[in-house]
Assembly symmetry: none
Homo-oligomer: 314 residues x 2
């Protein structure tokens, strides 16, 4: 086997094994231990994080961030990766932010100039308008890691109704919706699946509880959103108002659209979400006519009056 090929296979082998002895590899590859030693030194120079200990029970280990063997991509594949990462740029505090940036810079570095230009132009000419991000979610990476590896976390959560609480949870899934990140998790405090708004998680650290096997739950989030302390939200929408609301995912299932393009909203919502709906209806302006609830009308009036105050000639 030519040396270069052996090095690549060695790279994959050590990545797979994580721990190994020099003699082992020498047998597998049918070369002398001296050669394996030299090879390992080369891998080390190529960036593979190898660590070794002498003595019985010693041996080699691959540490933390492993390095994949070099892969040759086509220009189209490289551009596709830029496209995908670019599409997500309106999401901030994403997991793997740093990693995507460093991956793209590796691609960029190996590209001929004309593709670089093409990518730069593409960035200026393509956009994914996504819901305005509302609230930072600094612990997303930790939550994702816990969801993927079935770990238990201790989180400090700031809920509107209960104030700040500390509890152990085992994350199940994460989803971005309307500019917020949500985390469904088994809550050891409430002994059931709950949904948490990630921007309200103030702190997340490893927990002590024994992880449950939650593999069957996954992404099913439909049934979890039962409103607590519900109020009935009703409104009429003009055609334009209907179009705007149709694109709001949380609302569209509750839209009753008529032949002429106008629609009605009729949905049970949590009383605690009135502040959100206040802003939402104000932004709809004259395209919506709210029927109820009264509390919401009052809140909107109050908000409008305050705004009007702000806009007095000063």
């Amino acid at each position: 086997m030519p040396k270069s090929k052996r090095l690549m296979e060695l790279m994959m082998t050590v990545n797979r094994k994580r721990r190994f002895k020099v003699g082992e590899l020498a047998d597998e590859f049918n070369v002398s231990t001296r050669t394996i030693l030299r090879d390992l030194q080369e891998l080390s120079e190529l960036g593979v994080p190898l660590y070794s200990e002498v003595g019985p029970h010693g041996g080699y280990q691959v540490l933390r961030e492993r390095v994949l063997p070099p892969i040759a991509f086509t220009e189209g594949e490289a551009v596709a990766m830029f496209f995908a990462v670019h599409a997500l740029r309106h999401y901030s505090s994403l997991p793997f932010d740093a990693e995507s940036a460093s991956a793209l810079s590796k691609f960029y570095l190996h590209m001929p100039g004309d593709i670089r230009d093409q990518i730069d132009r593409m960035k200026e000419r393509v956009d994914f308008v996504s819901p305005t991000r509302r609230g930072d979610a600094p612990h997303l990476s930790v939550l994702l890691d816990a969801a993927v590896h079935q770990k238990v976390l201790t989180i400090t959560y700031e809920s509107k109704s209960e104030g700040t609480t500390s509890r152990q949870v085992q994350p199940v899934s994460l989803y971005a919706h309307n500019g917020f990140w949500y985390c469904t998790a088994y809550c050891f405090l409430r002994e059931g699946i709950r949904v948490f708004r990630c921007d309200r998680i103030r702190d997340a650290s490893p927990g002590s509880a024994e992880p449950l096997k939650l593999s069957d739950i996954r992404l099913s989030r439909q049934e979890v959103v039962l409103p607590t302390d519900p109020v009935r939200l009703q409104a009429k929408l003009t055609r334009i108002g209907t179009q705007r609301c149709e694109s709001e995912l949380w609302l569209s299932p509750h839209l009753h659209v008529r032949e002429d393009g106008t629609a009605e909203i009729d949905v049970e919502v949590s009383r605690s979400e009135i502040p959100f709906y206040t802003e939402f209806f104000i932004s709809l302006g004259k395209e919506a006519a709210l029927i109820g609830p009264r509390e919401l009308k009052a809140a909107i009036r109050k908000h409008l009056a305050e705004l009007l105050e702000n806009y007095q000639e000063g």
Copy 2:
């Protein structure tokens, strides 16, 4: 220079030059032409699409889809690429669909099994809820290519008001908004910038008109028409207001963001757009403090008063 390194550099060089002669490269790399010939044969075997012609004015060419030199990514970078592509899966018929799939499969192939499992679990546990896609846009790739390379297209467009028309356009930018894809383009029929809904483009083929230099237009809808009868728009934004405005493409170039996350808007706009800004600033609520112009303030006050009227208890 060791052979492996020379091969990688050769790969980058031929990608950059696209056309070259063997003697040229031999000079650049200080090796004999015989060696370059052998090297080129190896590159060819590695997948670089080389083509050669003999005779004067002959030489080598790199065809269509070039191949980048092999790049070693870390496991984290690879996972980040999966994450990004996964995040876009609710968009169908995206440009670079096939390319991202083949890139990911290359990554997948070179990964140790435990990262594969990790990725498979992540796919089940992370979701990006985005606006329901409405309408297919089969010509996106063609439009993107035209926007990036400043090409003119002949499109068949089905508009509600005018029925089906054929016209030449030069695409400027593409954006996804609320489940639709839009294309801003210079329309040779209307002699101005227009926005087209991509799902209403029935056909797109190369056009005959001479491309214009539209490089200055890019993503900003604002500058498409230089403000006629301009007024100076100035406002201060809170941190949250800044975040919201940053995702507005037409606005973000005119945002002056401070250290603390707050920002100021300072831009010349057309007087005729005051109705638009009225709604926009109302939707920003208390996150924006408008400084001027007076007309806008007055319009906002009027609008707010009317809204307040609408929301009186009935």
